[in-house]
């Protein structure tokens, strides 16, 4: 199992589009189970509704856990999905 913690740099927090990007990153490798945590809340990396329900705001610390093949790679992809592009 791999775990990575990073700070949310999107000024609007986790919203529809960047949550969708997380889901896309996670779906690239279905064998990996990805969980996203913020504070005491936890979301399935494939469930956009749960991701958005985290209410993660700008500056929040997010911990992503991946379990399965290519887990490290998937963690990188998820971080990129969240903080990679501000467009």
């Amino acid at each position: 199992m791999e775990r990575k913690t990073f700070v949310l740099k999107d000024l609007e927090g986790l919203h529809a589009r960047n949550s969708a990007k997380i889901v896309m990153a996670v779906q690239k490798c279905r064998a990996v189970k990805v969980t996203v945590c913020c504070g005491d809340r936890e979301a399935d990396g494939e469930n956009i509704l749960e991701l958005m329900s985290l209410n993660a705001r700008y500056g929040a610390e997010i911990t992503v856990t991946a379990q399965g093949p290519r887990e490290r790679e998937i963690l990188e992809e998820v971080e990129k999905a969240v903080n990679g592009s501000m467009i």
Partner: protein, 163 residues
């Protein structure tokens, strides 16, 4: 009390599993939405509405799963099992809630037709935003026989998606 419960759980409309239009306007296929997040159906299938009114109501009965602080998007876990998001306008997250008024909060129970958000549509348009509003079923894989209706004018609460 049992009468109320019956109404809650035994309502005929819920059994049909339809998602209704949250607003009046023109229903268009998702493929015509400018934002690829929606047009490529990454979040799921659905219908978009180009609204002609700023009053958005619940398209099905259920629980408000997410009401964004910016009030530009709301998602509902419907009693029929559908989990959907109503995203009012494109890139409207950047308005930070300006021109949007939320009528419900996260965790609230809503009935189909309950008012969710009031939007000053003209102001949003003047600010340069596309007001097209996708209604996306996020758990699309659970509904393999989903039928999305578009290409017509709709009133709020006209059926747009059959699950």
């Amino acid at each position: 009390m049992f009468g109320n419960l019956k109404k809650l759980f035994g309502g005929g409309q819920e059994e049909k599993k339809v998602i209704l239009a949250p607003v009046s306007g023109k229903a268009i296929p998702m493929s015509q939405v400018a934002d690829p997040t929606f047009s490529q159906e990454i979040l799921g299938k659905g219908v978009a509405i180009v609204p002609d009114s700023g009053t958005f109501v619940a398209p099905a009965s259920g629980e408000v799963a997410v009401m964004f602080e910016t009030k530009h998007a709301v998602s509902i876990k419907a009693d029929c099992g559908a989990e959907f998001i109503i995203h009012i306008g494109m890139d409207t997250v950047n308005l930070k809630g300006q021109y949007f008024n939320a009528c419900v909060a996260q965790g609230d129970r809503v009935k189909a037709g309950d008012k969710l958000v009031e939007v000053d549509l003209e102001k949003v348009k003047e600010a340069g935003y596309d007001v097209t509003t996708p209604i996306v079923i996020c758990n699309t894989p659970n509904f393999p026989n989903m039928v999305c209706h578009s290409g017509m004018d709709v009133k709020a609460l006209d059926p747009i998606i059959e699950l």
